[in-house]
Every structure is written in C-alpha cells, then in structure tokens.
C-alpha cells in the first residue's frame, strides 16, 4: 500500500489536494476492510447461523455416506426432484464443497480473531492495569470513606490488601489500580484454539486413517489386507501396504434374546469369541468381542456391528459333481425375527450355471398357511429356495454384489417352493442337479477403524471444554483507589470498580466486601454507603480509556481501530 493510498483512506473526503473527488480505497485498503469484516463478531454470527442451517438438510434427507439404500429409494419416490438435489450435493451434505466453504470461512474468522489475541496475550503477560480514572464516582461501583492515615499510607495499605487478594497492581501519584481475572481471556482463547485443533485432528484422521468392514462366518478367519475386506475406505494417503497386518479368527458366536414378556425377541447380549494375532507369527490371543467392547489390536479398533445366519448348502450339478459345499451368508431383513435373505451362485455348474435366491427362517412356524419366523434364535430353521439356471453374468467381468442375483440371463426353474429342513434336498428339473440344505452357521460383521486423529481430537475436545468453563467462571474486574487529603486534615479515600464482560452479575457483592475491608483496615468511616449501580450489561461504559486492548466485542462498538 503506497503512502498516497494510505493517505486517501485516512483523510476525509474532499480534502485530497482540493480535487473534489471522493477518496478511494486501494487494493490494500479493500483487503484490510475484508479482513476486518471476516473477523468481526457479526460475521461469526452469520457464519454460525449458516453452519446450523446447512446441517439441516443433512439430517432430513437420506445421505449417501450413511444409508445409500435410502438414497436409491428417494430417487424412486421423487424421480424429478432427486437429480436436482444431487446436483446441489444434498445427498452428501457434509462432504459438499459449499459446506466445507462455510466451516472453513468460520474457522478463518475464528483464527483471524483468536490468533492475534493469543500473540498479544503472550506478549502482554506482565502487562499492568491501566491508570485510575480521574473521577471514580462515575464508575458502576463506588464507595468513599475518610480515614486518619495519610494519603500515601492509605494507598499503601490499600495496595497491600488488594495484593493479598492476588490483584495485579499499578500505582501512581495519588492512586492505585488493581486488576484481576486474566485467566478469562486465557480460557476464551484456549477454547477457540482447541476448536481449531479439533478441526485439524479430524482432517488428520481423514488423511491417514481408514475404515473397513468385514463379514466373517464362524470358523473363518481373515487378515487385514485390502483383498480381505468387504468395504475399504482409505484416507487420502493410505496405501495397501499401510494396513496393520493383524489377523482374526472367529471361533464362536452366541446371541441371547429375551424369551418372554413384552420385550420378547429383543436382543440381550451378543458374544463373539475371537482369536487374533497382531502380526504374522505373533502369539495368538483370545478376546470376546461384544457391542460396546471393541478389540484394539496394533492401534486399530475392531467393532461388532452386526450378525446373522449363513445356511450351509451343497449344490451338486448335472454331472454329479459337487460344485458348492459350504455356508452362504444371508442378510437379515427383519431384526426382530432374523428372517434372512440371500443368494447362492454356482457359476461353474455343468451343464448349466445355477443360481438360487432363498429365505432363511430361524424359527419357522406356520401362520395361516405361510411360513414365518417367530423368534430370532434358530429353534426351527428352514430354508426356502428358488432356483435359476442360465447365465449368471459373471464371466463378462462386470462386478456383481455377492448378495444379489442378476436374473437378466437366468431362467427360473419350475420347482415347487418347499421349505427345506436340515438334511433335505431339492432335485432340480432337467437333470440340472440337486441342492441340499445341510444346516446353518452364524456370522458377524465387523467395522475396522484406524484413526490417528482420534486421540488428538479427544484431547482438543477436553481442552475446549476446560477453556469454556474457565472463561465462564472467571470474571475480569478492576478496582481503583484514590486518596486525597481533605480539608479537615483527614484523608478522603475513594474506591471505584468495574467488571468487564460480567453480564452474569456477581461483582457487586465482591466490590462491597472489598470496600468494607479497605475501610476496616484503615479504620475509616463511610461518608456515604458504598453504592452499586446495576452493572452495564454490555460494558459499554468504558471509563478507562487508556485501556490496552479492549475485548473484541468492544471493537465493534468503538470502530475498526480498536487495536
């Protein structure tokens, strides 16, 4: 910014060399103005409001990251509206660029306000309270009394008393200034800085952390490699070699349900018995995985988030060869009865590829002619299958979900749907083979999370809480004492006080107590009783104009040059 531009911002309009043009702001001036606007309290208010408002659609509309099936359903029920909402990123609000813009601006405003004040606080650690104002009677709280001590010794004793109460002191000719409560600013800044640290930690986790899911049948094991995970969401800088190389074996699983009463069918406990190794070759340890009791191995947390049934099925094809013999995980569609659905694909069956879609009922009962599951435990398991043959579509290379059957190239087989009990078989027509239901296994699904920003976020959260409580508890207040010799040879002592940003009250009693103590120390007598006016709720009456650095909220009052 050149000197000429600086001049034009400070000189009143019309004075610029008598040219009669309105003074202009230069680029630098505009930048400064923008920065002031960004870091003002009013902008903070607006941005906070926008942040709250922007979060609302994220909770009301289905979100991709939380429930993609619900989003698909929304497309189906609102075919015209859904693409418009998608264009506006309303199905992934919290990853949307405009949402990021709001909180980044908010944190910029926060940082721009807080960091300079932090630097100032650090620099002013030993700053002294301001001079005592000339007329203490104009302060919100005043008291005066006379004492037989000389002005000098009266001030000394006042300073000593205030010093004992841990006020920071500053003395001058005929006055003493005392201030207390600097910790309030410390708390305030700590809170806001901790919020910055929290954002940083969250971002850190997003870059170096990862989340994954894996479904495991009892008896199976897996190791933490990308090929073994069902869902893998790595952070920006996470590569396949960065995964912690632990392995887990599921040895058993037990689910207990309420068997009677109004809460029948509700789950009581889930217990998954695991054995795990932190590295290949390490000693195998045991752990019982339960909800609310995750397994922590090598810094990675493994959570139990779901369970279900996997019917064991054997498929023999038309040539008499067994082409499938093992459990198939079925997904529960109803948590209270654990009715589950699933798909069996046998792409290498000869002469024709085979596929089956089935329903598994853990406790099958006949209800008015149809079979339903009455209880989530496997008390009477039945498997009901529909058969297909033809082309499963797997050989073309197009990725398919293991839980869904693409029936486009398939022909449904004309077999009567008959629920199979353990050991029963279904013979397929045209010599295509046989499918036998052998029994069931159970499976669990686990969430695997690695978040290096988790602990920093926790620490930042607690620091924010501590800062918040500190700034609410501590009040910043000033007490001034002036002593002048009165006409009758005694000394008149005036005490004045004010609390800055003390809209919650409480200073009056402290001041009255201080006034009484001072008077008692000096054996003085009150000329008039200590007076307290209701303290200004906004601290607008700032009698001490020599204040060094008013609070930020004062700046909005006094103009842009409050610094």
């Amino acid at each position: 910014m050149t000197a000429a531009e600086e001049d034009s911002t400070t000189r009143p309009a019309g004075v610029a060399a008598g040219q009669g043009r309105i003074a202009r702001l230069g680029v630098g001036g505009w930048l400064r103005w923008s920065w002031r606007q960004l870091t003002s309290m009013r902008t903070a208010l607006i941005l906070l409001f926008l942040l709250a408002l922007a979060s609302v659609p994220g909770s009301v509309l289905p979100q991709e990251g939380i429930d993609p099936a619900a989003v698909t359903q929304y497309y189906q029920s609102h075919p015209a509206l859904a693409p418009v909402l998608n264009r506006l990123s309303l199905f992934s609000v919290f990853a949307a660029p405009w949402f990021a813009a709001i909180y980044i601006l908010l944190f910029a405003s926060l940082a721009g306000c807080v960091l300079p004040r932090t630097i100032k606080l650090v620099g002013s650690a030993r700053q002294r309270p301001p001079r005592a104002p000339r007329n203490l009677a104009r302060l919100p709280a005043t008291a005066s009394y006379t004492t037989g001590l000389t002005p000098g010794s009266a001030l000394e004793s006042a300073a000593a008393l205030l010093g004992r109460r841990r006020f920071r002191l500053h003395a001058g000719e005929g006055w003493v200034s005392a201030e207390k409560g600097y910790l309030r600013e410390v708390g305030n800044l700590l809170f806001h800085l901790a919020l910055l640290a929290l954002l940083f930690s969250v971002g850190l986790g997003g870059i170096f952390g990862y989340k994954a899911n894996r479904l495991l049948i009892v008896g199976q094991g897996f190791a933490n490699t990308p090929t073994a995970l069902d869902v893998f969401r790595p952070g920006r800088l996470v590569g396949p070699g960065d995964l912690q190389p632990f392995s887990i074996n599921l040895q058993n699983f037990r689910a207990q349900y309420v068997t009677s009463g109004p809460e029948a069918d509700q789950p009581l406990t889930y217990n998954a018995g695991l054995s795990y190794q932190a590295q290949p070759g390490a000693r195998a340890r045991h752990y019982t995985l339960r909800v609310n009791h995750p397994l922590v191995v090598d810094g990675v947390s493994v959570y139990l988030i779901g369970h279900g049934y996997a019917p064991v099925v054997r498929v023999t094809d038309g040539t008499g060869t067994v082409r499938w013999d093992g459990p198939v995980p079925f997904i529960p569609v109803d948590q209270s009865t654990m009715t589950s659905e699933g798909v069996i694909k046998v792409p290498d069956a000869k002469p024709s590829q085979l596929g089956f879609a089935g329903v598994f009922l853990p406790s099958a009962v006949d209800v008015g002619g149809t079979l339903q599951s009455a209880f989530p435990s496997a008390l009477n398991p039945r498997l009901s299958l529909i058969g297909f043959s033809g082309n499963l579509g797997m050989n073309s290379g197009q990725a398919q979900s293991v839980y869904q059957l693409d029936t486009q190239g398939l022909r449904q087989l004309p077999i009567a749907a008959r629920p199979l009990a353990a050991g029963q078989s279904l013979r397929l027509p045209n010599g295509l083979g046989t499918v036998t239901y052998l029994g069931y296994q159970q499976w669990i699904s686990m969430a695997i999370t690695y978040d290096p920003g988790q602990l920093p976020a926790l620490v930042a959260g607690f620091a924010a809480l501590a800062g918040l409580i500190l700034s609410f508890l501590v009040r910043r207040r000033r007490v001034f004492v002036r002593a002048v010799a009165a006409a009758d040879g005694r000394t008149e002592v005036t005490v004045g006080g004010l609390a800055r940003s003390d809209a919650a009250g409480g200073f009056e009693s402290e001041f009255a107590e201080l006034a009484q103590l001072l008077r008692a120390e000096q054996h003085g007598t009150f000329g008039t009783e200590p007076q307290t006016s209701g303290e200004p709720e906004n601290g607008a009456r700032e009698a001490d104009t020599a204040a060094a650095g008013p609070d930020r909220h004062e700046v909005a009052l006094t103009g842009p040059d409050g610094e």
Binding site: G205, N213, G221, T227, R236, D348
Partner: protein
C-alpha cells in the same frame, strides 16, 4: 517485547492467521474428500470384494523387492511353494471363483500359461476366500492347468504386505528369475497386455 507499530502487528497477526487457516483448510479438504469426515456405514450388508480399475506397474531392475518365501497347500491338498519355481519367471495371480473380473481374465491366463511355458514362465495362482469345490469347478471351467495355493485366511496375501501388497482382486504379480517382483497388475488383464508385460520382464537381465 518491543512494541511494533500497530499496523505491522495487525498485519503479522493477519498473516499468522491466514497461514494457519490455509494449512487447516488443506487438511480438512484432503481429509474430507479422501477420507471419512462425511461418510461411514456401520452396516452389515455390502459388496463382498474390492474392485479396482486396471493399473499396471513395471519395476526397474534396481527397484525390485524380493518376493516373500510363499508356501502353502494347493486346492487339492498338495504342498507347493514359490521356491520350487526358483530360476523361472513366475506369474502369481490372486483370484477367486466368485470374482467376476477374475473369471473374465481366466481364459487369457490359461492360454498364456501354455504358450509361455517354453520360455520358462511358470504360472501359479492364489485362491482367495474360496472353498475347494467351487475353486476346482472354476479350474475345470476355464481349463486352468497350473496349480493354485489355497488362502482362505489371507495369510499369503499378508506375506506380501511389506513388499507389493495385492490391493484388489484380481492382482497379478510377475516375479523375475532371481525372485524379485518385477511387475504388478491390478484388475483384469487381457492376453496382449499380460503377454507384453511378461515379455518385457523376460527380456531384461534379472
């Protein structure tokens, strides 16, 4: 602390704040879109494999990591190890009978195994998350003559963890004559692509 002029102090403060915010913004944006500020699904249903778009990497002679000493049992129960093929170029393919892209590239692999056997190229498979019957059925369908190691617990995949880990299925690694990993392919490869890559590995001194 010496008192700098007010304008300089406020400029410094603004600069400090801006740089902090820039760092934060970069972190947040990188963390947001790449990782998981916005998304998570603690559900139990989902796809059952991780697919990857096609990607091939060739490692120069000086940059090659030593392949781990992989041993295991085949689908039919026999013992097999990488060491038994030492001296030959080995093509190691991670597959599963349930994996559609693996099925798509299987014919090419089977054919290449036959045509390149004369050039001392041996093929070996690692079968992931499969059971014996469906794996054998796959090999019959696609006339796969080379053996595959059975890896239901991902132990073999884990052994490559510190060298060139398989990030998806299918993954194909080409191991040169001295036992070092010379190339890596993620995704289903075609006959010509794989042939070209194997030829490149053979053509170079190991």
């Amino acid at each position: 602390m010496s008192r700098l002029p007010a304008r300089t102090r406020s400029a410094l403060g603004a600069a400090a704040a801006t740089s902090v915010v820039a760092v934060l913004a970069a972190t947040a944006v990188a963390g947001c879109t790449g990782g998981d500020i916005g998304a998570n699904t603690p559900g139990s249903s989902g796809q059952s494999f991780v697919s990857h778009s096609y990607e091939s990497t060739f490692y120069q002679v000086g940059d090659r990591a030593m392949a781990p000493a992989v041993t295991g049992s085949t689908i039919s129960g026999q013992k097999l190890s990488l060491a038994s093929y030492r001296g030959d170029t080995i093509v190691l393919n991670f597959w599963g009978s349930w994996c559609a892209p693996c099925r798509a590239e299987a014919p090419a692999l089977g054919q290449l195994a036959r045509t390149m056997a004369s050039k001392d190229v041996r093929f070996m498979g690692v079968d992931i998350r499969d059971q014996a019957d469906s794996a054998a059925a796959f090999m019959q369908t696609f006339n796969v003559r080379y053996p595959s190691l059975n890896d239901p617990g991902d132990e073999i995949a884990l052994e490559f963890h510190s060298t060139v880990p398989p990030a998806a299925i299918p993954t194909t690694l080409i191991i040169d004559r001295s036992g070092r990993i010379a190339a890596r392919i993620f995704g289903a490869s075609s006959y010509s692509e794989l042939h070209a890559l194997i030829s490149k590995v053979i053509g170079q001194p190991a």
